[in-house]
Point group: C2
Amino acid sequence: MAKLRILIIGGGGVGTMAAYALQTGGHADVTIVLRSNFAAVERDGFTIDSIQHGHDIKNWRPHRIVQSIPNATPEAPFDYILVATKNVPDVKPTVVDLISPALTRTHTSILLLQNGLNIERPLQAAFPTNPILSAVSLIGATETHPGIVRHDDTDDCKVGPFPLPGGNTPPAAWQADARRLVQAYNACGRVGWTLDLDVKATRWRKLLYNSSFNSVAAVTGLDTARMRMSEFVVDELVLPVMREVKAVARAAGVELGEGVEERVVRVDPTDTAFVPSMGQDAAKGNLMEVEVIVGEPVREARRLGVPVPTLETVYAMLKAVQLKAKESRGLWTAEFAEGAKYS
Amino acid sequence: MAKLRILIIGGGGVGTMAAYALQTGGHADVTIVLRSNFAAVERDGFTIDSIQHGHDIKNWRPHRIVQSIPNATPEAPFDYILVATKNVPDVKPTVVDLISPALTRTHTSILLLQNGLNIERPLQAAFPTNPILSAVSLIGATETHPGIVRHDDTDDCKVGPFPLPGGNTPPAAWQADARRLVQAYNACGRVGWTLDLDVKATRWRKLLYNSSFNSVAAVTGLDTARMRMSEFVVDELVLPVMREVKAVARAAGVELGEGVEERVVRVDPTDTAFVPSMGQDAAKGNLMEVEVIVGEPVREARRLGVPVPTLETVYAMLKAVQLKAKESRGLWTAEFAEGAKYS
């Protein structure tokens, strides 16, 4: 069998560990697109400390390292594009913008290795003949310095085709695409991604954690251990958000089950001060995945007529924090002049 | 007429300007209790740049400057104690703790020159025979450095007796106490405090601004001009909070009137980036007046059965931010161990 040609966009912790598993499995040749860490990785390769692949991986490179999105070529189209960037649709370039040049219509499968709800929709609209796959990852992997990755929690990921708009079953061929990728991923023998034919439910389940803990961390600066110690943060913010998201999921046809919130509350350990990604982004003044993690559940709730008062307030707070990040990047300008509705 | 003996606790912008007006009016001798700025003021006096009293006031001192709360003496009891500190009842010492040593039962009138709701209640419980007066101030006055005060917005303040618990009219003698203080204050001829016999309503009206703009500034870090430019911050946070507080006020017997929210939204200028006090406190990691500005309206809403979903969420967020300020002061300890409800 010919090796799969795989393009990975995003060389942070998640993208790098995917590149490592796929490339070392021997069934794929990985091209990885790097931005801020390109120079470091070109010079020294990746340095990886992994609980599954080994603690002393040095000077490692996949098949090819590039600095910008490569153009698709008819003779060697990419079989898969794995998108492992942050998903911030309120800022250009969007995921559709990013992958367009590298994609071959009807051929390339797109795997979204990203958080959030309804992230497949713009891709299904833009590329209706390409399989769109979803990966819900629970890996713990962080790029601590450019090119240096610490992988400290199991690479546990569920992969399946996104349902088509309207909730229909995806074509059987798309399941095969997902299965083929999972096999190539697991070929290294050290990790176990799994095929998931109900990835929509899996995504809602992960959203319980992200929409609550991530949001509260971003607005308050607290880690999840302190949130739990305080008790009121869990009782008055985390659990109310989870219950609202669960109600939206139910209205969207996904039953997350009795007591799931209480289990999700206890996901993180209480012996370390872990700050979820959106909290880390907020602390650094970085852009956050507000729209896919909170905005989409809110819009879904409005569409379905489910009241989500806590989530609505959290969403507005996060957009306000995001506004500062946008302003510092020149993406929003404060006009100290008359003219606006409230000037 | 003998001069009034007045103790002012708190020598920030508000307390200093009160000391200046009362002392220079000639009808009062002011003792002021200073903490962080005691050494600077003892050495150089206050330096004041005031839009009403003069721009070049140097080396000014009231009758007496002290470093700790003085004890009451039978021969010269304080006629008034003006409390101009921040009001943070979730942290010791409380206002009751502070003023106890200096107060003479049945004699001293207590004036709370502070923000927030229900701040009189612990005082009425602790000192049932002392008149408790309320001052709702709109002054703009800031201590920019120790002992250096910029007074840049009119000293506009309404003073009246707090209604007794249960909403009864305060004794007529307490109105006279309020009037006498206002007269002493205005005797300098440069400022105009006014007597307010419906100070409860005035306090709710000021709460509209504080519970909304102050809270949103504390949680998001935005100034009020940017909140208004963004529009969504006003539409989705500021106005919803104001509408909820207005509904609680109505249930508490105070009708704030048609369109008051839209007027309060426009109180601050849009040509400068003004961050309300609680936002400044949050940015500096200081303790905030969360309980009197947001906690009390929430508890009032619960008592009266008024739903305040936005305010409830904002309150929980602020308590979480406050928790960090408490932890940094050793007032809360994160126990990375088992035992708590969510460990």
